[in-house]
Symmetry: C2
Subunit: 199 residues, 2 copies
């Protein structure tokens, strides 16, 4: 029994999982969230719908995991020794082309979230909360090093500042955020709000 | 000739204009931008479609003007003598109930903008650019008073910071922005980034 469960689980290798997530992102870019079906994912990836449901639970979870997978490494891995270093390393991980692609994809998904509470829930659990926890680790280290005062009220608004930069760049400035834009925003806004000298 | 033009223009009084904008906003809340028709606006307001087109040019312009009209007064009217005073006065103008209503409406319209370039254009010309120009006046006065250094790099990101607070509050914190939230964000983020003591 135990062996059969293990065998069943191991049927999906990390390579296969990555391939599957790529196919889901491709389909999302082609048809959008609402028109995406588990049938299409199964056909595109030559897997059975039963496997997809067993492994991911449903479309919202599969989509949230695929988006999570497309993000470069985990923030927690970064430890450059300074908050400015950590933030700039974060920005440098995703190149401008990936950022442009993700920007369009994320805008589409944020719209889908509006009328799909299941997707919002999956996004929160599988994407937003883990990313925020990783941010918290970067910030906690900065507090422990004495770079940021533990009672600095901007600590709880870091995600608001950063998402604002992303969303506004796309909507108002009508261009995807670039590494140069985000690096400049971090130095001009995020670090000064946290009381950390930008240079 | 001149008289007849004047007569035609004066056919729409400010009261009638306000009534018409209210009807447009009601319809937007009921059916959303894509399903809103000029026929429905004409029927609801007992006006002719010809009048609507002559006065506003088209649906995107009518919607942008209606949203602009729903915003409280102009930022340029505010002059409390300090940047913190001006920002807090701005936040205090719109009560939480109006902010909650507008937050849902604006989210819907931001989605419509995504696939309606005409609406994006009208929003930029009639709503975003005038609001940004008014912000620039508030900030210019702060620079002239010596509160903010003219070369402070955060000056060009004030709109990004503020829109980030609005958008993130709705999307991630899952609640409409309130006056208390925005006042706290201004003190914690916007003023420190601009080098102005919050208290």
């Amino acid at each position: 029994m135990t062996e059969s469960t293990a065998t069943r689980r191991s049927r999906i290798t990390p390579e296969r999982e990555a391939e599957l997530y790529e196919a889901v992102l491709d389909l999302l870019r082609e048809v959008g969230y609402d028109a995406l079906t588990m049938d299409a994912v199964a056909a595109r990836t030559r897997s059975s719908k039963a496997t997809l449901y067993r492994q991911w639970g449903g479309k919202p979870e599969l989509v949230a995991k695929a988006v999570r997978h497309s993000k470069p490494g985990r923030t927690g891995d970064l430890d450059t020794g300074s908050l400015r270093g950590d933030f700039h390393a974060l920005v440098a991980r995703e190149d401008d082309c990936a950022m442009e692609q993700n920007s369009a994809l994320m805008r589409g998904l944020f719209m889908a979230v509006h009328h799909n509470p299941d997707l919002l829930q999956a996004f929160k659990e599988l994407l937003i909360e883990p990313e925020m926890a990783e941010f918290q680790r970067v910030l906690r280290r900065a507090v422990e090093r004495g770079e940021v005062r533990a009672d600095n009220p901007a600590l709880e608004y870091v995600v608001h500042m950063l998402i604002g930069a992303f969303a506004t760049r796309a909507l108002i400035d009508d261009q995807p955020p670039t590494q140069a834009f985000l690096a400049s925003y971090i130095d001009a806004v995020v670090l000064p709000a946290l009381g950390v000298p930008a240079r």
